[in-house]
Amino acid sequence: MGVTCVCGVPVLEGKSVQQTVDMLHKKLEQLGAVKQGSFCVDCETYHATGTVSGQPSKLLYVMHNSETPLSCLALFEGGPCLIADANFDVLMVKLKSHFQNAKGHKVECRGSRYRYCDFLIKVGTVTMSSSARGISVEVEYCPCVVPGDCWNLMKEFMQSFLGPSVPELPSAFATKPEGLFAPADCVDTMTQYLELFNKLRKLQIQGSNVR
């Protein structure tokens, strides 16, 4: 995997989530990007049941990415993460008396996958409890694994179709020392998705109007 950046895109004024997604697709196609199938990233939340009362229960996130269909990523926010094969989900079912699945918290992000030269762009609709909550854009620059070397290029590319909604350097890269390679696995990408999902979840709770 190359350096990957995931960001949220605000819904356009006066338009619906679907309309904004369609506009992004149109801009990408105008640039010359080619549609190549679809993708899906999802995240399930588990609460640890055995914690001492009074302390907030630890949240365990289990995420899947269609780019790596045989794997799943389990992580504690700000804590250690584990890359495991698909059987980890079966293990979580066995652990259901210790870790409860917060079914209402399942987040899914589905959409189309576009290829433009060395870039892979995925525009997805983020849904929680089957209501669309926001839009995600994932941009991967495949040939490079060092964030410092290609961030400016990626930012310029994103400006060409995202306009003013271009994000800053993701915190996942900012916290790495100078010149460190993005690891070959999906951890950095998935942590960015998790950050986005949590941000979108909090927005809805605050009563923000996202159609």
Binding site: Q36, G37, S38, F39, C40, A48, T49, G50, K58, L60, H64, S66, E67, T68, P69, A74, F76, G79, P80, C81, L82, I83, A84, D85, A86, N87, F88, D89, V90, L91, M92, V93, K94, L95, S97, H98, F99, R110, R113, R115, L120, C142, D185
Partner: protein, 209 residues
């Protein structure tokens, strides 16, 4: 750069429950060579495979009931290979005529952050040991002949002490639930190993601690 297929994976109600069928026995050190010789003859023709593994057993104490046990195993001879996490359920009771011990089994391959991650989940390591020996296959059957060693200093796999003067012999098959011919085949194979080793169904819950 083709997109991998997007599939919806059923987790509950659609998974194949894998069961482990197991027969165990042991041989004294002196009898090892004869046993290996017989196994080489009976089993599938392949390069003799030896292994050295480090296994850690983790417990998660819940509010009630028995603690949840997970076994994390890594290869000391292939240090870059993934960790192998295994859950074994309670042995299935009922059919006394079934020749092998049958229990639900979930195997997960995991990255090297496994011990740290298990600790974060609340698991605590109960004990660890080093196993080394030989592995053979015959069709779906796996025969493992291993010597178990106690780890004297936690985490130090160099300094170990053999637990006994014998080798543990295990004959196992991983198959979906409901396949009754498996234990028959296992029993037939175990017959061929007599009298070198007596492979039996040993119920772990009947062991006195």
């Amino acid at each position: 750069m083709e997109a991998p297929p997007v599939t919806v994976m059923p987790v509950t109600g659609g998974t194949i429950n894998m069961m482990e069928y197991l027969l165990q026995g042991s041989v004294l050190d002196q009898a090892l060579e004869s046993l290996l010789h017989r196994l080489r003859g009976l089993c599938d023709n392949m390069e003799p495979e030896t292994f050295t593994d480090h296994e850690l057993v983790y417990l998660l104490k819940g509010q009630q009931g028995n603690p949840f046990i997970l076994r994390a195993r890594r290869s000391l001879s292939h240090p870059t290979a993934p960790w192998h996490l295994r859950y074994l359920g309670q042995p299935e009771v009922g059919d006394k005529s079934r020749h092998a011990l049958v229990r639900n089994c979930v195997d997960v391959a995991a990255s090297h952050s496994l011990p740290e991650f298990l600790n974060e989940m609340g698991f605590r390591m109960d004990h660890e040991f080093v196993a080394n020996g030989h592995i053979f296959r015959k069709g779906a059957m796996k025969i493992v002949v291993s010597k178990l060693s106690r780890i004297l200093v936690p985490g130090n796999t160099e300094n170990t002490e053999r637990l006994s003067l014998s080798y543990l012999v295990e004959l196992s098959v991983l198959a979906p639930a409901g396949q009754d011919t498996v234990s028959e085949d296992m029993r037939n194979f175990a017959e061929q190993l007599k009298p070198l080793v007596q492979l039996e169904k040993i119920d772990p819950s009947k062991q006195r601690h």
